[in-house]
Subunit: 313 residues, 2 copies
């Protein structure tokens, strides 16, 4: 069950007010023809190309001036790193980003474009966490975890909050599951605003820690994630698992082929650039893992190497 | 000067009411960082992936029941053909589409998906027009020209009308120029709603009939168009040229390299799939052909072969 340290729906409402000047109210597209009944919340069109802008802005702007002045620290090679760099710049404080040696140049460029200060580490979780801890100690900066943070989770929940303001309740809401921050925030917001909706998390079968944790009832590690969906290779934390158990209805998995097919369809039919992680919910519809008259999903991000699109391989 | 047969601003207001149930109110994205001051009206997210849905719906739904019942006819291998097929299906009437033999299979599929009935012709303008005229005579259907039609022009103008309802007047509005229907509708709407704005048409240097007509003051033919921007290979008609002369401030041209660069930036930075024709206005900004504090542009369409993206060649 949720603990006092977990975010609640009021935190999402406060987050929405706090971040409104700093994030886009992203559009919702309704499918037509064979896609009638599908609704897409376009977080790929969010600042930095991902919903991560929401949680990062909420965490950064929730800090007191005294807490904020030494800056913020995170370990991430993905969208959270760029989002935190941007949020810190908007607040006028430094962002220290730990990235593994050999991370793609494009990811590093996205961080540096927003003024993030990169520190390299070895490509292991132990090295990432140790390097981040040392940076916090040295700079006095505040660690903003990519998902295991109540303010981040509350921020991510604002995407679904906006969705509830643009449409009537669908039957099902789908969100991808990596570390579980988006799913937790989504489920919290959905439960409060759309009491009858089913909230389903979707993850690649090659990174199925959440599905295994869900079915066993015990938090399972992510062993050797093998998926194109680079944003979903992380594992649930105790907090995000607890919130999922409290508020989510089901977790399903999808194949890599379905992820690629869904991604291409999103480019082709909706004219949206969506990264593999963001195509995972539609993959669940394509594979028949979810079937409902009206299904809404969050297209989480659009950061993908355009010279390496997976259907060209 | 405009003639009594030309559309006026009231026609655009009426078109907006008429087509509201059948088209998307597309989002407007505001650039940030180095793109601050740029505003994008996302008609690539329109039904059929192009603004052409607007003009086609207006033309089809403006017909009386008696005029409509025999259906509509056009000659087009592009977005107008799919848009007219869709509009006709929504009204419950047939659409007869003349396409040149050898048109890309994907274009034909987009028409047939909406129930359009394809008649092949030789790939010459004479054959297209003769085949369409014969179809009109045989079926009793009404010809809906892709751009040389007052109802089509008024429909296209609704994109800019919506834009004026979502933002304050920018300094400049950019629209691509092919046959000139979008530019004419855009300029009409802009003049009425944003009296101080400059309206500039942009076309590829390899299909510069409009720029030549503009600078000479005499309608010039499109000779041998050579551009990736397949939607802009057509030529102005007497009507669209007259409207451009009356309401447009300038017409500029852009290089093919700039079109490809702009297209890739739209994918990469805005996470939008935009076809070459739709990237032409941004190309004008990249090449310094247009410079203003606040520039709005219409991203006209997103129908592009995803296995043949131009930066992969």
């Amino acid at each position: 069950m949720p603990q006092p340290i977990d975010p609640c729906f009021d935190d999402i409402l406060r987050a929405a007010d706090r971040i409104a000047p700093y994030v886009r109210r992203t559009p919702v597209l309704a499918g037509e023809g064979p896609w009638a009944g599908l609704y897409f919340k376009c977080e790929n069109l969010q600042a930095v190309g991902a919903f991560k802008a929401r949680g990062a802005c909420n965490a950064v702007f929730a800090l007191s001036d005294v807490a904020a002045e030494r800056g913020v620290v995170t370990h991430s090679s993905g969208n959270h790193a760029a989002a935190l760099s941007r949020a810190a710049r908007l607040r006028g404080i430094p962002a220290y980003i730990v990235m593994p040696r050999g991370a793609p140049a494009v990811k590093r460029a996205a961080v540096e474009e927003w003024g993030g200060i990169v520190t390299e580490c070895e490509p292991t979780l132990v090295s990432r966490e140790a390097t981040a801890a040392a940076l916090c100690a040295r700079t006095g900066g505040v660690l903003v975890h990519p998902y295991d943070d109540p303010a981040v989770i509350a921020g991510q929940g604002t995407a679904l909050l906006e969705l509830t303001e643009s449409m009537d309740s669908p039957d099902v809401v789908l969100a991808p599951v990596g570390g579980g921050g988006l799913l937790a925030g989504t489920a919290l917001a959905a439960r409060a605003r759309w009491p009858g909706v089913r909230v389903i998390g979707v993850e690649p079968v090659g990174a199925d820690d959440a599905a295994r944790s869900w079915s066993s009832g015990i938090l399972q590690p992510q062993l050797a994630p093998a998926t194109l969906a680079d944003g979903l290779r992380g594992a649930l934390s105790a907090r995000t698992f607890r919130l999922a158990q409290a508020y989510v209805d089901d977790i399903v998995t999808v194949s890599e082929d379905a992820i690629v097919a869904a991604m291409r369809l999103l480019f082709d039919r909706l004219k949206l650039v969506v990264e593999p992680s963001g195509a995972v919910p539609l993959a669940a519809v394509l594979e028949g893992r979810v079937s409902a008259a009206r299904t809404a999903m969050i297209l989480t991000g659009g950061n993908v190497d355009l010279s390496q699109l997976p259907w060209l391989k």
